[in-house]
């Protein structure tokens, strides 16, 4: 991997995009999508934020390399410069893709790519299975199989693809304050294409793993993600806000689909790649599921507290 190209891309974007203002979160739900700036779980608590960074860099040392630009690795191609060029044209518009791109460039230092890291860690923690023969184990680097590393990348690719796809606007619902129709259409076009590009790369990398169970697991995770996002969108829309009353278990199911299924199934798939048995696979699944559910619940809690503080300063 050549870091120079990535730095150039990052540099080109950072010259064009103003840095995010210091302090709090971006406004919730603004413009219909885009990533929120994640500064670790405990932003606003400085010692906790640096603790988080420390934990993550320790983790990165364990797995052998920094995971920050993982999903951009595949973009070392013509399509990368194409995408970057097209995203530049969106500067000055209000298309959410710009926010997503900004988040990807700026938060890379603040560990946006957490999922890949978790997959790598759990792969190393589980180690080789009892049944695996020695020749298979030779494929390990820093205690992780190359197929597992590939899987970690695939997980990030899928996650990023959906971040991008979430930032698409409904043309029919645009108001004049949202900016030019042409800009929005163009932004949509680039968002769809970039997301599809990432997904296509995920698919071909999955195929290269030569393991049909893993392909099935991860493909079903993509389906889960779509369903989850669909529920997310329905819950956010205006008409549902006041009258929609979903119970806790439904909410948990929906959260699982949109935030948890990917990591849970990736952890399970990582075990499958190392030929671990069903029990270990299930443990990995549960870890991934509970980890990501708690992450999401924590965010929701902080979001609510944040809003509370804004209303009652």
């Amino acid at each position: 991997m050549c870091p120079l190209v990535l730095l150039r891309w990052g540099g080109c974007c950072s010259r064009l995009l103003p840095p995010p203002p210091p302090g709090l979160w971006s406004a919730r739900g603004g413009g219909g999508g885009g990533v929120r700036w994640r500064r670790g779980l405990f932003s606003g608590f400085p010692s906790a934020a640096s603790h988080w960074s420390k934990v993550v860099s320790e983790a990165e040392k364990i797995v052998g390399y920094p995971t920050s630009f993982m999903s951009l690795r595949c973009l070392l191609s013509d399509e990368l410069s194409n995408i970057a060029m097209q995203v530049r044209k969106l500067v000055g518009t209000k298309h959410p893709l710009l926010n997503t791109a900004r988040g990807l460039v700026y938060d890379s230092r603040n560990n946006l790519q957490m999922r890949g890291l978790v997959v790598l860690l759990i792969s190393k923690a589980a180690g080789p299975s009892n049944g695996a023969d020695l020749s298979f184990q030779h494929d390990m680097v820093s205690g992780i199989y190359s197929s597992q590393r590939s899987l970690a990348e695939i997980t990030e690719l899928i996650h990023t693809a959906f971040l991008v796809h979430r930032g698409i606007v409904n043309i029919g619902e645009l108001k004049s304050c949202d900016g030019l129709l042409k800009d929005m259409q163009f932004g949509n076009k680039i968002a769809v294409l970039s997301g599809d590009f990432l997904l296509a790369n995920a698919c071909t990398s999955l195929a290269q793993l030569q393991n049909t169970k893993v392909v099935e697991l991860i493909s079903s995770a993509i389906g889960d993600l779509v369903q989850g996002i669909y529920y997310d969108n329905s819950n956010l829309s205006e008409e549902n806000c006041l009258t929609h009353d979903i119970g806790i278990s439904t909410w948990k199911e929906q959260i699982f689909l949109s935030h948890s299924a990917l990591l849970a199934k990736s952890c399970q798939a990582a075990m499958e790649l190392a030929k671990h048995d069903a029990e270990i696979q299930d443990m990995a699944f549960q870890y991934g599921k509970n980890m990501s559910m708690s992450h999401k619940v924590c965010f929701s809690l902080l979001d609510t507290l944040n809003e509370f503080i804004c209303i009652y300063p």
Binding site: I171, L206, G223
Partner: protein, 292 residues
């Protein structure tokens, strides 16, 4: 939303070729007219991948009609349309995994990548006239022919162990696919919107220079400037249409399609005779004479 395009109103051209090819290969190998479950799966998966790409393409092109009715994005909005496309793709991938054959997974995943790269090729353009045609053919392969070629190859792998047969299937699919798209590009000029089921002169309005335009440009070099600015000035689309209809662009493109069909026929004739093989041969003629 996902059911919307699976209502049988499409031509189902791709699955038909795939099933015919499956039978032809099975007969060639061991005289069996049965289609294996896995081959049937491939046909379904091919149509699903195709549909997913259509849904996304309609968002990208901001299209409002397809197959004679409104597009998914027109009715439900762009956000849901993109999600629907992703969902269809994931369902196709799950089905693909369940076939249980890693080679088949590789072959069909290649299609997904080609489809996306084809869209990117369409975004960019070549300044050099000579490169334009090669660029156009490459884009045509990636966007249209790759799916047909690789699905044919996939069913041949499932039906017959002979790599020569796989190559025959692939070449047939590739040539038919390119011919199909070339005729599609011709119909964009010669047909009217009602017949096609989608708006006509759509390619020009999207700024795309297809076969008829590129051939016409050889006779009318004034078109070069229009091509380079992707027909963006008012009046460009109408003028380009006029040039094309005055030139022999349509005829030349049709002739090129004929040559691809001929090549496809040559390939498929190498298989053992069967009603399916003959159907595939006849299909190449249908591709040329269709009007929608």
């Amino acid at each position: 939303m996902c059911d919307y395009y699976f209502d049988g109103k499409g031509k189902a051209f791709r699955p038909m070729i795939v099933v015919l090819m499956a039978r032809a290969c099975n007969i060639h190998h061991n005289n069996s007219r049965e289609v294996q479950a896995s081959q049937r799966s491939v046909a379904i998966i091919a149509e699903m991948i195709h549909t997913a790409s259509l849904v996304h393409d309609d968002v990208i092109d901001d299209a409002n009609s397809r197959r004679g009715k409104m597009t998914v994005n027109q009715i439900w909005g762009e956000r849901k349309a993109v999600l629907a496309g992703d969902f269809i793709l994931s369902a196709a991938s799950v089905a693909l995994a369940r076939i249980g054959n890693t080679t088949i997974i590789s072959v069909l995943s290649q299609v997904i990548e080609d489809l996306v790269r084809g869209e990117f090729l369409q975004l960019g353009s070549k300044e050099n006239e000579n490169e334009r045609f090669a660029h156009y053919l490459e884009k045509t392969f990636k966007k249209t022919a790759s799916l047909i070629a690789n699905s044919c190859k996939a069913v041949s792998i499932l039906g017959c162990p002979d790599p020569e047969v796989h190559e025959i299937a692939y070449q047939y699919g590739k040539n038919v696919g390119i011919a199909f798209q070339l005729i599609d590009d011709v119909l964009d000029f010669t047909s009217c919107a009602d017949q096609l089921g989608k708006p006509a002169a759509a390619d020009l309005k999207l700024g795309l220079a297809t076969g008829p335009v590129l051939f016409a440009c050889q006779q009318f070099p004034e078109m070069n400037a229009m091509i380079m600015r992707r027909f963006s000035l008012p009046g460009d689309v109408e003028r380009a249409q006029q040039y094309v209809l005055q030139s022999d662009g349509v005829q030349q493109t049709t002739y090129l399609a004929q040559r691809y069909c001929h090549e496809a026929m040559k390939e498929i004739s190498k298989l053992r005779p069967s009603p399916e093989r003959d159907a595939l041969i006849q299909l190449t003629e249908t591709v040329l004479t269709r009007d929608k």
